[in-house]
């Protein structure tokens, strides 16, 4: 009875049937909606990426695994891989935490006010990272505003290193990625049924309990999505680490950039790119797996 009911309410147009002409026509109907973008992505994204994959195996007229062999054996690549993963993870985490507070705050205000606040969130987009990196130096440097303030308050010569190290990279990246992470969380918060929170309150839950027992669990898909997005975008950036990072913050994208533009070794660049993409795929599919496990 239960399952039947579920089926009855969940099934909709064009589900589950294959091999019957009208359904094919119907799917084709939706296919016309999907077709332009699918063709476009195949031609302008997939084929080029396959080209990159091919370039990583094919050089000077022969097929070779040399680039991958070099990757596996080179300490440089191992370090870059570890950096990429840990910076990507930290960036995703911090962006999501900061993004959550902002999204939560935004979700509790009237729509018009929210539009104004979203301008604040989007503002970083308009200031070039190149100028921003200077602004961060002014703000976070050893002689920067924050350190001077700290010294004035504490009366000591304490200097908190916040730039040209891992912290600098993560701060810079989070600054760029927080807007990305706010939007999915906000949309999942806004789509929540307010009645659920009210119900929890009626049942005697405090504000904190309502948040942790209702709001937060319901927003988890949005949190996961935005965290993944921020992490993976973070993993692919290279301008921020080169401007704000320290010597140990070389990432795989920096290597791609180097091998493409300076070394002109596109075989190696492509191989690193392929590893980077596979890494992203691995993370995404793990997350998808975990999510389906959790929802069961």
């Amino acid at each position: 009875m239960q399952t039947m009911h579920a089926l009855e309410t969940n099934t909709t147009i064009g589900k589950a049937h294959r091999g019957r002409i009208p359904i094919m026509i119907r799917t084709l109907g939706f296919g016309t909606f999907l077709l332009p973008l699918t063709v476009f992505m195949l031609l302008v994204f997939c084929v080029p990426l396959l080209g990159v994959a091919r370039a990583s195996f094919y050089t000077n007229g022969t097929w070779t695994l040399s680039a991958y062999r070099e990757f596996v054996s080179g300490a440089l690549f191992h370090r870059a891989l570890i950096n990429t993963l840990s910076i990507g993870f930290m960036t995703g985490l911090i962006s999501v935490i900061c993004g959550y507070f902002v999204a939560y705050h935004l979700s509790r205000m009237p729509q018009r006010k929210r539009r104004l606040y979203i301008i604040l969130v989007m503002l970083p987009f308009w200031t070039s990272i190149l100028v921003k990196s200077f602004a961060f130096t002014v703000l976070l440097g050893t002689n920067g505003i924050i350190n001077q303030a700290l010294q004035a308050i504490s009366g000591t010569n304490v200097v908190v290193p916040m730039i040209f190290n891992r912290a600098g990279v993560i701060i810079g990246m989070a600054h760029w990625l927080i807007p990305f992470s706010v939007l999915p969380i906000l949309s999942s918060l806004l789509s929540q049924d307010k009645a659920l929170r009210d119900a929890a309150e009626v049942m005697g839950a405090t504000g904190m309990q309502v948040f942790w027992k209702v709001t937060f669990p319901l927003s988890l898909p949005g949190v996961l999505a935005s965290g993944l997005m921020a992490s993976v975008i973070g993993m692919g950036s290279f301008v921020t680490p080169s401007l704000l990072g320290g010597r140990q913050d070389l990432m795989m994208a920096n290597l791609v950039d180097f091998y493409v533009r300076e070394a002109l070794d596109w075989r190696m660049a492509s191989a690193i790119a392929v590893v980077l993409i596979l890494l992203a795929l691995l993370i995404l599919s793990t997350a998808a797996f975990v999510r389906t496990r959790l929802s069961r």
Binding site: M1, M4, L7, E8, T9, T11, T12, A16, P22
Partner: protein, 358 residues
Amino acid sequence: MTSKLTLHGVSKRYGPVTALHPTDLEVREGEFVTLLGPSGSGKSTLLKIIAGMELPTEGRIIINGRDATEMPVRERDLGMVFQNYALMPHLTVFDNVAFPLKIRKTATEEIRRKVHDALKTVQLEHLKDRKPQALSGGQQQRVSIARAIVYNPSLVLMDEPLGALDKKLREQLQFEIKELHDRLGITILYVTHDQQEAMSMSDRVALMNGGRIEQIGTPRQLYFTPETAFAADFLGSSNFIDATVTARTSERTVCRLSSGEEIAAPSREGFSEGQKVRLMVRPEHISLLGQAVSADRNVLKGVTTGTTFFGESAEIRARLAAGSEIAIRIPNDYSLPEAEPGAPLHLEWDVRQTHVFA
């Protein structure tokens, strides 16, 4: 009268799960037919198949004489009213009602006239420039009804249209829909889980259970001659008493209760002596104090266990000597004595109102 909708052996399976067993159904022109059943009984599946949102696994659907089994939704010439109104939030009331006409490229002047008439029918002309969100639930559903009839479809499907409304509005709209149906002669296939709604509005009711039509007939037929215990139980209230068949004549089936008392029922095919059966009698058919006991009436002894006062009627619950609980619904009347718990009762009812189920 011509048939507006005919189903021949329509069924639906999702892999191993059968949502709808092969089903036949006919809706004649101008008829008001209701699919009644609890959730999961297959009525929504059936409606979706008729509307074309699902394809049947087997069977054929004939709408207005044309085989519509594999016809796209839009060509089936149907009107539909949904539980959540399904009005387009970006269009005004007028434009919502005009939508199907515009789709049909009706002339502007004709659209204006038809929409005007339809809105007049549902008494909402004065709100034609509002957006649906600005209307109450009842008003929104009226707009939705106007939209479903404005283009004279062969058949109007109504999927629990009153489910989201409160009781009072529900009753009012029941009346309005019925009145609309009678006045305009439209053919309606209505889906609900509310038996009272089904009984009060329909020409015929198809009672669904477990993915099949359990019984189909006029509300009267379903009420007075339910063919299954489910039908008896779902429509109206009922008391069930376990018994064993002791004798069968051409006129009567006689059953014995565990207390030894005997109950007679009209004779029905398919029962043999010694068979365990369930007897059913509706609470409102039982009366308390005997007129002269005749052969046409069954009599049982019991003990009062409680009374509930309903205003126009009262319900007395009793424990039979045979052990089962039974409810008696009687019209209120000042002469009715207060039945104290524990007081002995004599129950009696007409033999013809006794139903026997396997």
